[in-house]
Amino acid sequence: MTTATKTIRLALVAGVALAFGAGAVQAETLRLLTWGGYAPDAVVKMFKAETGIDVEVTKSNNEEMIAKLRATGGGGFDLAQPSQDRVTGAQSEHNIYKPIDLSKIDSAKFITSMLEATKGNTTLDGKVYGVPHIWGTSGLVLDRSKAGSVKDYTDLCGDAVKGKVSYRLKRPTLIGFAFAMGMDPFAAYGDKAKYQEVMNKVEAKLIDCKANVKAYWTGGDALLNLLRSGEVVAAMAWDTGGWKLNKDNANITFVAPKSGALGWIDTFALPRKTKAEDAAYKWINFVMQPKIAAMITASAGNFTASKGADAFAEDALKKRFQDSFPQEAIDNIKWYPPVPAGLEDIEGKVLDRVKAAK
């Protein structure tokens, strides 16, 4: 956004605020720390119409969410949406969340299995810190006409796709390669020495594979451009990216790797110093309504934990999902378990060395 339009918007906002006078000042606000696409404008407007509550959306990612809440000791936001595997680690180390009062959650609106799984994964000292909202996977995005040989992450290092491969230098890559190499990194989560061993092997593989990589992608848009232009034919990425490209080019789509796609669930969690707890629960129950959930699916590209929302989802999206995920692929999804504190350091050093390697 240019400064000019920013200024115009600011002026508009200021003008509107003045026009509504005292009423606007007193209106309740929900400060939501979330991901891009999770709180589309239309839904925010509907929520405001129904409850009178304004939603102030801040877009972020797992790491920044934790950093932001850590900086304020769990303040500044009323509701956050970290992935389920990043809740308990951050909570035990930085104490940034408060437990969820499950009695205020309309559990009938959730897919039961998913709700139970998330509750389990976000429980610390007997208290539940998260309920599920949106889930998705990461795996392979391929141009099937040019990278038919790629079935798993390790195939990205094959000669067939030399120089036309891209992945991120981030932890999902490490985990994915570990699975593809026949190891189980999640099983090693509890044992740092063992995890280090797993990571060492992955490090060697990634350094070996470096010549094959065109660029380590850093932003979703950059990756989509690489795939769209054909400069990259195989990449490790999120499912939604693949489906987005599929709309324009039928050859490109998301493929679940042989060793299993990595599954993540983004949750709702309450920052410890939340100032609008009631509004937060209202928002959770509001967006879990099947129709609303379908709107969010349309905007974010991923499916939600809302029971019955599938019925309202766009057919094309359902079709893409089914193409990418035959039943056995769904069964093979590796769901991220909670990350114990301290693994980031091991992973960080591995990633540094991969990047520095010639």
Binding site: T2, E63, A67, S92, K210, A222, E231, E344, A356
Partner: protein
């Protein structure tokens, strides 16, 4: 008495700004950097975070690489900006002058992200330049011009241009044409007039421009990340990683502090090598 009060009132915002936004956070950062993390929630005071920088070659290699690339970018920016500024200050008249100045400003009308994406569109394998080269027959196949250090350099120089041109134009503007003419009249040629008259006069501008550009390059994040290649490391990326992805604020603070100290040391060395000092650059600028 009244005058005094006015003086302090004028000084107050500056002091508040210096103290509240610069000194206090740095003190905070300094103490944080002295905390060594033993386990979750368990810290002790030590220099371990600083030791980590010097013991891990990756870290100081990254810093050295960042510093060298920044110095190089500063020099290239200076080499390009000097003739441009000279033209704007001394040769261009009226309209053309304004147009040229605006051209230098142009990159700043869009955000850094958009600007960097612009370069990506131009330089990528399937980008404008690559197509142009193939179309003219200069290249037989697509050429990848992204993802290497030269691209970073292009991005840094492009972003820094204005910050070099403005101080240079200002100092060159104040150069009396008669001095240049006298230089020629007394037997000088283009090169000696440049060396003995124009450059010494422009030195304050050269130094302040170079300091600003060097610091901007050193602190740049997006350009090296987006345009850089697979092995391109940048120190600010390290700091970001420590703070954000590794939750290691203590290490990040130590890096931040080291960046401050080492970059100050480099600037100081640069000033010594060119025989300048900060007060003559920022202050009265010597006699005119």
């Amino acid at each position: 008495m009244k005058k005094r009060l006015g003086f302090y009132l004028l000084l107050a915002p500056l002091l508040l700004w210096l103290f509240g936004l610069i000194i206090v956070p740095h003190i905070d950062m300094f103490f944080l950097s002295l905390q060594e993390k033993l386990g979750p929630g368990d810290y002790q005071t030590s220099l371990a975070n600083y030791a980590a920088f010097f013991n891990e070659p990756l870290y100081w290699n990254t810093f050295a690489r960042t510093a060298i690339m920044s110095i190089l970018a500063t020099m290239i920016t200076l080499l390009i900006a000097f003739p441009v500024s000279y033209y704007i200050a001394k040769l261009a008249q009226g309209r053309i002058r304004a147009v040229l100045f605006t051209l230098c400003l142009l990159p700043f009308w869009v955000s850094e992200l958009v600007r960097t994406f612009g370069w990506m569109i131009l330089l990528r394998e399937t980008g404008v330049l690559s197509h142009l080269l193939q179309w003219t027959g200069l290249a037989g196949q697509p050429v990848e011009m992204l993802y290497n250090d030269a691209t970073i350099m292009v991005g840094l120089v492009y972003t820094s241009m204005l910050f070099m041109v403005v101080p240079l134009v200002t100092t060159l503007d104040s150069l009396d044409n008669a001095h240049v003419e006298a230089g020629y009249d007394l037997g000088g040629n283009g090169w000696s007039v440049l060396r003995e008259i124009v450059i010494p006069h422009a030195m304050p501008g050269i130094v302040s421009g170079s300091i600003v550009v060097f610091m901007l390059c050193l602190g740049n994040y997006l350009t090296p990340i987006l345009l850089g290649g697979k092995s391109s490391l940048w120190f600010t990326e390290q700091i970001y990683d420590q703070f954000i992805t590794r939750f290691n604020w203590e290490q990040g603070s130590a890096f931040g502090f080291l960046l401050l100290i080492l970059s100050s040391a480099i600037v100081w060395t640069g000033l010594r090598l060119t025989g300048q000092n900060l007060s003559s650059t920022m202050g009265d600028g010597g006699e005119r």
